[in-house]
Every structure is written in C-alpha cells, then in structure tokens.
Amino acid sequence: MKIVVCVKQVPDMESKFVVVDNKKIDEAQIAFKMNDFDEFAVEAALQIKEKMGGEVIIVSAGPERVVKDIRQAFAMGADWGIHIKDPEIDAGDSTVIASAIHKAIEKIGDADLVLTGVMSEDNQFTLTGVMLSHLMDIPHGTNIVKLEVADEKSITVNRELEGGLNEVIEMSLPAVLSIQSGLNQPRYPTLPGIMKAKKKRLDVMTAADLGLSEVGAAGSKTEFIKMFVPVSEHKAEIIEGDAKTAAAALVNKLKNEAKVI
C-alpha cells in the first residue's frame, strides 16, 4: 500500500502569542511542532504499512522550518517525503493548500490511501482533507476514530457523529481519511530512527514544480484581513482553609448562596 500522510507544522499552543502589525504572530517567540492530529495519522499509516507492506510518504507545506517535523515523521518510520516550499502557496487559503497537496500526490502517483489530521491545532478549519478528496474525486471520511484495511481494494472505518454515535462506513480505495485524535498511541522515534531520518529522501517542490498556477490571492476564495488578541475579564473568590474547611465552605456556598446544588 502506498500511503500519503499530510503533515502540518503548527505553533505549540503553550507558546507566547504576540501579534505583529495585526497580521502575523511573532515566530521568534513560538516553538513549532507537528500538528497532534497529524501525529495520529502518521501512526495510523505506519500501522497499516506494518500489516500490509508498502510505503509511507509525508507531504508538508511551509517554510524551511517545517523540515524539522517532516524529519520527525521520518524518524517515526515514514519512508520519504515532499516539502512544498513556496511563499506564494503559504500565502493562499485552504483551497490553495489543498490544490498544492493534490498536485504533490499526483507527482507521487498511485496513492492507495491519503491520511490527514481532522484539523490543524492552530487554524482548526477542518477543510483540507475534504477539499483534497473533492479534487481527487475519491471517497472520503472525516472524524475517523477507527480504521481497518481488509485488503488493497477497500477500507472500513468508524466515524464520530453527534450524540455519541459512531457510524461504520465502507469505501473503496483510493480514499482520503481525516483522522481524529486518540485513534492510536503515536510512537516515539527511536534513536536509530532519528539517525536514519536524516538520510531519507525529501523532495522540495515549488508551485512551478507542481504545475500549480493559481496561488496566493489568485487561487484563494477568502482573503485574510487581520489577526488580533481577544480580551477577557473575570474575577474569582478564593475559598481559604485546609481541604476539610474549604470543602465544607464550598458545599455551603454552592447550596445556600449560589443555590446550584
């Protein structure tokens, strides 16, 4: 099986977010990491490869810094990758990113399965996977919480629905799946894995290399205006005393003052 995993590098949410010129975050203060949801997707791909054989290919778009997390996926066990490196692609919206990934997957050729995280931790659009499947005109499932590849022709997945329901669906391959977190336990790279990762093949491609003409604003359907920090205010009452005193005072307040229990 040829499995492509789309990986995005995102800011660590524990970083300090400082907005510059109402336009972007100050990257000097940000630690970058692999999007959590994508880590589950990489692990899912590696498990399928272990069962069925084949290769796992990473596709990631962004500036030079994303190489760190492509190599991270290599260290986990992915075989090779494509780094889409073009500021004009980065300047575009989800439509442009999905188109660029689509072109990269075409370059790879004959992908049996494409996995993405269900969303990125930073933007949380939940768009790329769906848009990609539309461009590729192949089946798609979002919010995947379980997957079983029976053979090289079809796949059975569980999707998360509203109301705590799970939907079991079957689809033929190739297909695109958007992976929900918690599907598996992503492995830590081993030391030999990290050593090998440095030598694995990583192709760098621009929009021109991919044959993508509509990039940046021209290929986008939305236009970014500004970024800003929201304000929030709240005051708290601290209940003093040791655990026993505080617990008694708390229950008393909830019962007699707030009347919520």
Binding site: P11, M13, V19, I25, E121, D122, N123, Q124, F125, T126, L127, V130, H134, L135, I138, P139, H140, G141, T142, N143, T156, N158, E160, L161, E162, G163, G164, L165, N166, E167, V168, E170, M171, S172, Q180, S181, G182, T222, E223, F224, I225, K226, V229, P230, S232, H234, A236, E237, I238, A243, A247, A248, L250, V251, K253, L254, K255, A258, V260, I261
Partner: protein, 344 residues
C-alpha cells in the same frame, strides 16, 4: 448574482424529530445580517428573507413552528434516506437545492456533522467557506467578513469572503444565543422531492453504533464535573465520576485526559472538543489552557480546584479552592452526602 433579493439560508439542525435550539440561534444571526445589510444599502436588501433548509423525515409539525423565529419559508427535502445524517448524500442534496434557489449565503451551526458537511458542500459549490465563525458582518458593497478564533483562542482572525458566490459559514454554538419565540407566523413550507438514487455515492454506511445510554452528553448536562492532567491517570479519575454521581452530573475532561484514553472523545471539553455552558462546572486539576477555557467560559458558575495558586483556571473561576483534588473532593462528596442534599 441571480437576484438582488438577499435570501439567507440556515440549515435546520434536528435530532430525533426535534429541531435543536442552535437553529433558532442561526435564525437570529440571519436576522442580524439582514438588518445590517438593510442599514448599509437600502435598495439591495429591503426585501431580504430567511429560508430554513431541512433534510430529514417526519419534521412537518416541527418546521411549522419556525415562523415564530423570524424565518420566512422552509425548503424541506423529505425522505427516509435523509432521516439520519449522511455527509455525502446531504451535500449532494443541498447542492441541488442551492442550484435551484441560489441563496446569498448558507449558515450552519458548527458541530461534528457540519464540520464534515460544510466543506463537502462548499467544494461541490466551488465557493468560499469559513468555519467556526464567532462574528460576521456585511458591508455596504455586500462584502461578507468573518471572524474566528485561532491558536486555541489566543488569537482571532478576520477574513473577507469571495463576493461572487454563495459562501458557506459555520458558526460556533457558543455565539448562537437562545432566542425567544415570537407569535407564530404562517410559514411557507416548500417540499422538495429528491431521489437519493440519482447520486453515485462513494461510501456506504453499514452500521450505527450507540453510545452508552446512561452517560448524559456533556453539552446537555446542567452540572458537569471535569478533570484534567492534575487529577492523574487511570483510577485517579474515579474521584471525578464519584462527584458527578453524587451531584447527578455528567463527566468531562481536558484534551490530555481524552488523549490518555481515560474518557471518550465526546467527553472532551474545549476548542477541539465540546463547547459547554452548564449551570455548574467543576474544573478539577485543570491548569486552564486556552484550549479548555474556550470550551467552558460560558458556564454559569465555575468551581476550580488546583494545587497551583498561579494556575490560569482561577481567572475563569467564580469559586476557587487551592488544594489537591484528591484531598478536597472526597470531603466535598462527604459533605454533600452528609447534608442529604437531595432530601432537603
């Protein structure tokens, strides 16, 4: 633009034959958008209208009630195949309806299903989409701009949407305010017969699995007890469940708790989980990362218990106890049970 009449579509969110309250919130938002556009440009939108679009079965009586929320008409695609959500099928049906009626924009509340449906539909329509919107505006030249939280809510981003097509927008449920019903007006219900057999679907649903019925959903519960990293792994979480039992509440967790597989996904509170607004929320051993607080800041009364006096969660709490969850909570439970609260 096929017509200058501003026709805003809202997707009816319904479950088990009942229209969900988010639908009314969407109607209020659509009303706000119409009023705004009217103020900005008289001749354009003086006859703007709100259309609810419903896909389902057996909803006639419920849909008639929508007139009380300022909705002018309902486009109703009815069929047994549409009784339950199916992303691929719903997107195809909505595309057909869109092509027939050409609305100005389509609004949905953001949930597990629409996070699947909205991008499918926008792709089929080849139009712009912005998800998880908290505010949107329409300007004098009918440009729509949408604001949404990013980076776990630390930041907001504002976008302009392509004007030439019908944008698809999903709104976060916490900005959809509950609306009072006005006097019910007569509402036109247009029935659309669409044969699902005409679509060449790529996926096949084989089974629907129910969650355990005794577990009340956290976004419906009045009292929620939530635990985070500070509670600890494995059996440590039992204390949360015990408190939930004694207060007849529901159990939720932060993302680490869900990632440790101590609770299922649907119990995750936060930006990437459920947004809840219970009457009483206990935040136990939770530091208060933005990821979590975005999901709970609308809660009426928040009790925070944490050992770290500097924890961010205390900024969001009404009542705070600085202490170890495993020392405080057993005494809280003891006190509740001793008082025989349910018999008072």
């Amino acid at each position: 633009m096929s017509s200058d009449k501003m026709n805003i579509w809202i997707l009816v969110n319904h479950r088990q034959g009942t229209v969900e309250k988010e639908t009314y919130g969407l109607a209020a938002e659509a009303q706000r958008l119409l009023t705004m556009s009217k103020q900005n440009s008289e001749e354009y939108c003086s006859d703007g209208k709100i259309t609810a679009v419903a896909l389902g079965a057996g909803l006639d009586a419920e849909l008639k009630q929508l007139g009380a929320y300022g909705i002018n008409s309902v486009v109703y695609a009815e069929g047994q195949e549409l009784a339950r959500y199916n992303g691929e099928l719903f997107a195809e049906v909505l595309l057909k309806l869109y092509e027939k009626y050409k609305p100005a924009c389509i609004l949905m509340d953001h949930n597990t299903e629409t996070s699947d449906l909205a991008p499918r539909l926008a792709s089929l329509m080849n139009t712009s989409i912005v998800t998880r919107v908290i505010d949107f505006t329409i300007s004098i030249n009918r440009e729509i701009a949408a604001t949404r939280p990013v980076s776990s809510g630390y930041l907001f981003e504002k976008f302009k949407l392509e004007r030439t097509s019908c944008p698809v927008i999903t709104l976060l449920p916490n900005v959809l305010n509950e609306t009072e019903a006005a006097e019910n007006r007569n509402i036109e219900i247009i029935n659309e017969k669409i044969d699902p057999g005409t679509f060449n679907l790529k996926t096949k649903v084989t089974e629907i699995m129910e969650a355990a019925p005794e577990d009340l959903e956290i976004d419906e519960a009045e009292i929620v007890i939530s635990g985070g990293r500070g509670v600890g792994k494995e059996e440590s979480l039992d204390i949360i469940t015990r408190l939930a039992k004694s207060l007849k509440g529901s159990v939720g967790g932060t993302r680490p708790i869900i990632d440790w597989q101590l609770l299922p996904f649907e119990r995750q509170i936060g930006q990437t989980g459920k947004v809840i607004s219970p009457r009483l929320l206990f935040a136990c051993g939770i530091s208060g990362a933005n990821e979590y607080t975005t999901g709970m800041e609308k809660s009426r009364l928040v009790v925070a218990i944490n050992t770290d006096p500097g924890a961010r969660i205390f900024k969001f709490a009404d009542l705070s106890v600085i202490g170890d969850v495993h020392e405080v909570l057993p005494r809280v439970i003891e006190k509740i049970e001793e008082r025989g609260i349910w018999n008072l």
